[in-house]
């Protein structure tokens, strides 16, 4: 799962801030044959991954790139239609609705999730009894959150007279079930995403541990308030980690599928409110047999996320601060 792989870059980043190890090639005489053997061994060790990448990722991706320009219904051979799929997409109201729903989910859900992750990470950064327990407890949902069973449990929790409805009724709030209500299902989906803040939280926690205590001491000597310290010390020192989390969570949020598929009964219900981009793509591909159109949608998503990531990288120059940078 992506949550596991997420740790590696963060820790690598902190380790990297030191000086690079001396380049051995420059000190000794060049030994090309040895180097070739080394790189061959490297590729041999890489080969399981490379095979998987080429066979299961790159190949299918290229195939879907071809299919994106065809009309392909799974039963008969693909028929070249050029840019017709893109033209249809532009006119497809449901497509644009799915884009809107996904953007709301990403733009609202991701910042809330990161804010929650950072807030809890800061709380857990204090040395107090039981932090170990709370760290695990807060991390647990992100391990199981994307699973089908959790989506089913949430479905039950948020239905009419379910635990959530019942609890709200106690406070005189009568919203009824959230599952069948098109305007409440999105808040519920966002809540489900925010609840899984464990992965970014752990990364934030690692980042917080890396902020030198001297900086806080110096700020205290200067009479800085806790808020000032947060804004002027924590945030800048943490900005690489914030950037990393933001990028990762944004990309993940665009790909939300399993929870939306289960909660919306696979049809984007109620009333198309959970018709996320990926759900719609799936419907087009597997319910409507329009593989060409679905492939085109997949590539549009890839490009759109790529462009957004590029924009993030560009803006990062102005707000992400690396400790090693000269000022």
């Amino acid at each position: 799962m992506s949550t596991d792989s997420a740790h590696a870059p963060a820790s690598a980043r902190t380790a990297e801030s030191g000086a690079r190890p001396a380049d051995s090639r420059r000190t000794g005489t060049p030994r090309p044959r040895r180097r070739n053997r080394d790189s061959l061994a490297g590729y041999v060790f890489l080969s399981p991954w490379l095979l998987g990448f080429v066979g299961l990722t790159l190949g299918p991706m290229l195939a879907s790139l071809y299919l994106a320009f065809t009309d392909y219904n799974l039963f008969t051979a693909p028929e070249w239609t050029g840019l017709e799929n893109l033209g249809r997409m532009a006119d497809d109201e449901k497509f644009w609705a799915s884009v809107r729903i996904t953007l709301i989910y990403v733009l609202v859900g991701t910042p809330i999730k990161l804010a929650a992750a950072l807030a809890v990470a800061m709380l857990l950064n204090y040395r107090a009894k039981g932090t170990g327990f709370f760290r695990s407890a807060f991390y647990a949902p992100s391990l199981i959150g994307a699973s089908v069973s959790i989506a089913i449990v949430w479905r039950a929790m948020f239905s009419t007279d379910g635990p959530v409805d019942g609890a709200l009724n106690l406070f005189g709030i009568n919203l009824g079930g959230w599952i069948g209500n098109p305007s409440l299902i999105m808040p519920m989906m966002i809540l489900l995403a925010v609840w899984q803040f464990g992965a970014p939280m752990v990364i934030f926690l690692a980042g917080l541990k890396g902020v030198p205590a001297e900086l806080y001491e110096a700020a205290s000597v200067d009479g800085a308030s806790p808020l000032r310290k947060f804004l002027s010390v924590t945030v800048p020192m943490l900005s690489p980690v914030i950037f990393f989390n933001l990028l990762l969570e944004m990309i993940n949020a665009f790909q939300v599928f399993a929870s939306a598929y289960i909660i919306g009964s696979g049809t984007g219900g109620p009333g198309g409110a959970t018709n996320f981009y990926t759900v719609y793509l799936y419907t087009r591909a597997f319910a409507n047999n329009q593989m060409g159109y679905a492939s085109a949608m997949a590539w549009v998503l890839l490009l759109a996320v790529g462009v957004l990531a590029l924009i993030l990288f560009r803006t990062s120059r102005s707000w992400v601060h690396y400790a090693g940078d000269s000022k």
């Binding site: 992506s2 879907s64 299919l67 089908v148 069948g180 098109p182 198309g272 799936y282 597997f286 679905a294």
Partner: protein
């Protein structure tokens, strides 16, 4: 791990399916069907859609089959209807359809015309007995190149009612076959007495069968002989608008139905009536836990018009790529003709198409009620429409999804009608 069901995986599947198609193309051919070898150990995969009730019946039927054919083992799986077809589409493209499948008339053309199904005609008189099957029903499985599926039985559109719920509400049951106005009045009286927990029925404009019924009552059809839509966008918008008053304060709110999906409002004891195919009776009994469910004729705007028809729904079919076609044929034959299977299923797969199975079914209780119902509407039974156009399955689902969205108020009938026609032009254009 479910995050892997992402765009990347989907495109992966798309590509795999492309290569699978080539493989599927190579899988055809073969010579004369061989006789079934009684010594060879064979395992067949079987799959069906349905609920727990149906699953229990299939388990019993499979046990009976395995007793008669000790060398054949059947592995069965089941799921609900929409995901059933999603799975089959991928398998079809990848060349991995199960050996034997419960099949739907709706998808027959798509699969049969593309060479994905075993031509059962090769086994007629040689593994599959057809003598006892009603000829008209048997021919529904026939396409240009052969017979690719055999109907288990037939059913007709009907109104189901739950007497226990009605008694609680203190309302007289709907008598059936009246005007639409009287059915609406019945639903309204139940909803009023139900106090927000029980409703009279479900939106009667939501499903494509609702529209078909109204069209047939005007002497028209859902599709023209050329396979085009038999109604206009304006008529569809009007059809959906007609349900507006009922949706406001009579029929069960769609939001409640979304919560109990895939169980229907009637199955979930939220409504005292629901319109559906008559073979749904067994499923309804299982879902609702009701002791008795009654069945009457749908309302009509024109009692003289032959608006109802014998609907072939469930069929049994085998995959063209099965490694054991003789065993697959034997299993199909057993499911269609065996009196034992008749006894197990009763009328839950429709009133059996095969005489031998019908005799074995020894219809009693609720099954007899279905048979009696079908006999009682004989004078309203007209000709069945032609085999559904390719792409009807997805279109039917789109219609229903839009009907639900209208119920939730997220789309107006006008917009929904436009979306349906946009979709139809793409689907039927294929």
């Amino acid at each position: 791990m479910f995050r892997t069901l992402s765009r990347r995986t989907l495109t992966g599947v798309a590509a795999l399916t492309a290569s699978g198609l080539v493989l599927a193309g190579c899988g055809g051919g073969g010579g004369e069907p061989a006789a079934l070898d009684a010594d060879e150990q064979i395992t067949l995969n079987y799959t069906f859609w349905g609920n727990d009730d149906r699953a229990a019946r299939y388990d019993a039927a499979i046990a009976a089959f395995e007793e008669e054919f000790p060398n054949i083992t059947i592995n069965d799986t089941f799921t609900d209807y929409p995901s059933y077809w999603e799975k089959r589409q991928t398998e079809a493209a990848g060349g991995g359809l199960p050996d034997v499948m419960q099949f739907d008339y709706t998808y027959l053309r798509q699969y049969g015309d593309n060479g994905l199904l075993l031509n059962l005609e090769d086994y007629f008189g040689n593994g599959i007995t057809t003598d006892a099957i009603d000829e008209g029903l048997l021919s529904t499985g026939t396409l240009d190149d052969g017979t690719f599926a055999i109907p288990t039985g037939y059913s007709a559109w009907s109104v189901f009612q739950n007497p226990a719920l009605l008694a609680e509400a203190g309302i007289e049951p709907y008598e059936g076959g009246t005007s639409w106005g009287e059915y609406d009045a019945y639903m309204a009286s139940v909803t009023e007495a139900g106090g927000g927990t029980v409703y009279g029925g479900t939106d009667t404009t939501q499903r494509i069968q609702d529209l078909e019924l109204k069209l047939r009552q005007e002497g028209r059809q859902l599709f023209t002989d050329e396979g085009e839509l038999g109604f206009t966008q304006e008529e569809l918008a009007e059809h959906w608008t007609e349900g507006q008053e009922n949706r406001e304060d009579v029929t069960v709110p769609q939001s409640k139905l979304e919560e109990i999906n895939p169980v229907s409002g009637f199955g979930g004891n939220l409504t005292t009536s629901e319109m559906s195919w008559s073979n749904f009776l067994g499923g309804y009994l299982g879902d609702s836990g009701a002791e008795e469910i009654t069945i009457v004729a749908p309302p009509t705007s024109n009692p003289d018009e032959k608006d109802l028809y014998r609907k072939v729904g469930l069929m049994q079919a085998a995959s063209a790529s099965t490694e054991h076609p003789e065993a697959a044929a034997a299993f199909v034959d057993f499911l269609i003709n065996s009196p034992e299977v008749g006894e197990i299923f009763g009328a839950t797969l429709g009133i059996p198409a095969s005489e031998t199975q019908l005799e074995g079914a020894n219809l009693e209780g609720p099954d007899k009620a279905v048979k009696d119902y079908l006999d009682s509407i004989e004078n309203r039974m007209g000709d069945a429409p032609a085999a559904p156009v390719a792409g009807f399955g997805p279109l039917e689902q789109t219609f229903w999804d839009l009907g639900k969205s209208i119920g939730l108020g997220t789309v107006t009938p006008d917009d929904a009608a436009k979306q349906f026609f946009d979709e139809a032009s793409v689907t039927l254009g294929n």
